[in-house]
């Protein structure tokens, strides 16, 4: 849906009829596991309204004017951090960058202490990336600020999944869609967040990869597990190729890059088995020639850059909504 000629609104335009009566109540966004379909749709609808701002000559709205957003990143990240910063800036918030390599343990200050210090500076929203699953949850217990999870361990990465789903939804309805997530599922927060939301919204999710990269207990999750990519690729509407973490190559989990590429990489040869209009996604940054061949990554089915653009709108929507919920609670 094109937003090019949308009027300049401070808040998102209303594009769906069922949205008027919906009130967003969560001042934190930790994960998608417990969000209902109407809540997920509300975020996506709100993001749709924010897409227009990026097209304007003055790319700013005043929704978070006077608010302070902290980018609290304990793990390396370029695109997620920049995307959140730009999203906050577009909503006129001040952004405080806080980087800490390694865990809070090695640094000597606990996450609680860091949170209390930040709070003393009068901040409103904390965007946190952390190597330990559950760190954002811990943060909600020791701060009054809104907490937005920008990825915690292998737990969740809700804004990534929301932007993935937003990108799919732009092109086709989610209900009944077959979505394959391919790669290191065991260590992937993106896979988990996608699974929860896609399942809630009626899509069928397939995890594809070697058994050594699958987490345990998948039989109790609403997902189909497949170890032979070629068996299912022809039935898929979406292929979401996860980034391979180099530190796992040569470890006992898989033997080599060529073997991984041959079995699970999205090559142009393998693409011939896929549906003609299959969507090819990747959370980035891509390892060309490893999990995805350049020809495919840059080809007509690829939505990779569209995902990046949509990420901005989705993160604006999330920052906007958590702040709205926090204000509703204090008023």
């Amino acid at each position: 849906m094109s937003q090019k000629n949308a009027p300049a609104h401070a808040s998102p335009t209303k594009t769906r009829s069922n949205r008027q009566r919906f009130t967003w109540r969560h001042k934190h966004l930790i994960g998608l596991q417990n969000l209902a379909a109407d809540e997920l749709n509300h975020i996506l609808d709100t993001a749709e309204g924010f897409q227009g701002i990026s097209q304007r000559s003055i790319k700013k709205a005043p929704a978070l004017r006077g608010k302070v957003v902290v980018n609290l990143f304990f793990e390396d990240s370029t695109r997620t951090r920049n995307s959140f910063r730009l999203a906050a800036n577009r909503l006129s918030a001040d952004v405080l960058e806080f980087t800490s390599k390694g865990s809070s343990v090695s640094k000597g200050e606990t996450l609680r202490d860091t949170a209390r210090n930040l709070e003393a500076m009068g901040i409103d929203i904390i965007v946190i990336r952390h190597a330990a699953g559950g760190a954002p949850h811990l943060l909600t217990q020791c701060t009054n600020a809104c907490v937005v999870n920008a990825g915690d361990g292998y737990h969740e990465h809700p804004t990534q999944a929301l932007l993935d789903i937003f990108t799919i939804r732009e092109r086709r309805p989610l209900k009944g869609l077959n979505v394959a997530i391919v790669g290191d599922i065991g260590h992937s927060r993106v896979a988990r967040s996608n699974l929860w939301a896609l399942h809630t919204l009626g899509a069928n999710v397939y995890f594809v990869g070697p058994p050594t990269l699958m987490p345990s207990g998948l039989d109790k999750l609403p997902v189909n597990v497949c170890h032979n990519f070629d068996d299912i690729i022809g039935d898929m509407d979406v292929l979401n190729m996860l980034r391979v973490q180099f530190e796992r190559i040569g470890s006992p989990v898989f033997p080599s890059v060529p073997e991984y590429s041959r079995l699970f990489g999205l090559t142009s040869k393998r693409m011939k088995r896929a549906k003609k209009d299959v969507l090819v996604m990747h959370p980035g940054p891509i390892n060309r020639g490893l999990e995805i061949e350049s020809e495919v990554a840059d080809g007509p089915n690829s939505t990779i850059l569209r995902q990046v653009a949509n990420g901005l709108a989705v993160r604006m929507a999330v920052l906007f909504l958590v702040n709205q919920a926090a204000q509703a609670k204090t008023s």
Partner: protein, 426 residues
């Protein structure tokens, strides 16, 4: 001669297969007589109607953190927690800093315990020097100093050749080797049970096989060496099956379980509360049922707390980074009653056996009985106390306990060590 008469209790003394309404007379520091309607003009009289009187409870698995981490616990504070919980004897693990791996440190524990003058504290020495799993520690010297068992608890001995030597060596002393069964390579960086909940929480899991494989290995080693072996804090169905089979084969193998593994499962980790983080980790519902069954059929010999104090600041870290372990000495008796008596898994005499004569026999301690002449270590239990746990009332220095505000059926009212009342619940 100072005397103490306890009247009208239900006296449960599993060592003598006794369960009767009776009076108990203590003269000096020893049991003088157990019989109904004793007439004696004692110095001290306790009316114990409605209470259960048992030999002093024994917990053969606690961490007292001294020397090295006295901010978390000391031998004195841990002893205070023990008597507050009804335990007259505790066995402290050697994973201190420095480790209890020589006679001098064993002496130190006895000296600190004597200064505290509360519970009997028996040190468990390390199997290997510095608990490094490489060179054997001086077990003979430590036994001379009073070590009652050996373990590298906190970690298991990874190298099978070292464990084989340790079992061979220890077999000449008739002292048990206790193992924290966990294959580190398999456990990896896991912080909770592997499975559905770990996957959903995005936390690295500990495969149950990490415990079972080491236990299986050890049982084969025990078969060859004929040594005495005690498996610590078992947590899985597979582990209790292995112990059951080993016992059928007549091996000198014993086992223990904690209240946590009898009351809680890994879904408790769902709010990322590090007070549910322990090693071995909380497992699945099937495992809990299997452990209960193993308690009921005698596969498990004794009940222990694995009391593991940690600073609040440490337990306030991310679940992944917080240390393993929780405290429970102060409230353990109630936990065991809740886990085993309430659901009628076992009855009071069976429960008391697992907290008295069974651990005493494993450790060759002259304790755990009310036979005339025995040390007058006695616990008086209110089986209908039905009280609420308040961790702020704990005598332990640490508060890392998931049972705050739990309603528990039973608690110790009096703890008597060598004839002296060391604790009285008001």
């Amino acid at each position: 001669m100072s005397t103490l008469l306890i009247k009208g209790a239900r006296v449960i003394d599993p060592a003598n297969q006794a369960d009767q309404l009776a009076d108990v007379l203590v003269e000096q520091s020893r049991i003088a007589q157990v019989a109904p309607n004793l007439k004696h003009n004692a110095d001290t009289l306790i009316d114990a109607k409605g209470l259960i009187l048992t030999p002093g409870l024994i917990d053969m698995h606690v961490h007292l953190r001294e020397p090295g981490d006295e901010e978390e616990e000391t031998i004195a504070s841990g002893s205070a927690a023990a008597v507050a919980g009804g335990f007259t004897s505790i066995v402290c693990m050697p994973n201190t800093d420095p480790a209890i791996d020589n006679e001098a440190t064993v002496d130190f524990v006895y000296r600190q315990a004597a200064n505290a003058n509360l519970a009997n504290v028996f040190p468990c020495g390390a199997i290997t020097k510095g608990r490094q799993g490489k060179e054997l520690a001086e077990m003979g010297q430590m036994i001379r100093g009073g070590a009652v068992a050996f373990t590298d608890d906190g970690s298991g001995i990874q190298d099978p050749s070292v464990m084989l030597r340790a079992l061979q060596y220890a077999s000449m002393f008739d002292t048990p080797l206790c193992q924290h069964c966990q294959d580190n390579a398999l456990a990896g960086a896991g912080c909770m049970n592997s499975g559905y909940h770990a996957t959903v929480l995005g936390l690295p899991g500990i495969n149950r096989l990490a415990e079972e494989l080491m236990l299986y290995r050890d049982i084969q080693l025990v078969k060859q060496t004929k040594a005495r072996y005690h498996a610590q804090h078992l947590s899985t169905t597979g582990s209790v099956d292995l112990i059951r089979q080993a016992k059928k084969q007549g091996l000198h193998v014993t086992a223990e379980v904690t209240p946590h593994h009898l009351l809680l499962t890994d879904d408790a980790c769902s709010a990322y509360d590090p007070n549910f983080k322990m090693n071995p980790p909380l497992r699945a519902k099937d495992d809990l049922a299997a452990l209960q069954q193993a308690v009921a059929d005698g596969t498990i010999d004794c009940l222990v707390t694995d009391h593991a104090p940690h600073l609040r600041s440490e337990k306030e870290l991310e679940f992944l980074h917080a240390p393993f372990g929780i405290v429970a000495l102060d409230c353990a008796l109630g936990l065991f009653a809740k886990a085993l008596i309430e659901p009628a898994v076992i009855d009071w005499p069976q429960l008391i056996a697992m907290l008295t004569i069974n651990p005493a026999r494993i450790l060759n301690l002259n304790k755990g009985t009310l036979s005339p002449g025995a040390d007058a270590d006695i616990t008086l239990i209110d089986p209908k106390a039905n009280y609420t746990v308040d961790v702020n009332q704990f005598k332990s220095k640490s508060r890392n306990c998931p049972y705050h505000n739990w309603q528990l059926p039973a608690r110790a009212l009096y703890t008597i060590v060598a004839g002296n009342i060391k604790h009285k619940t008001l």
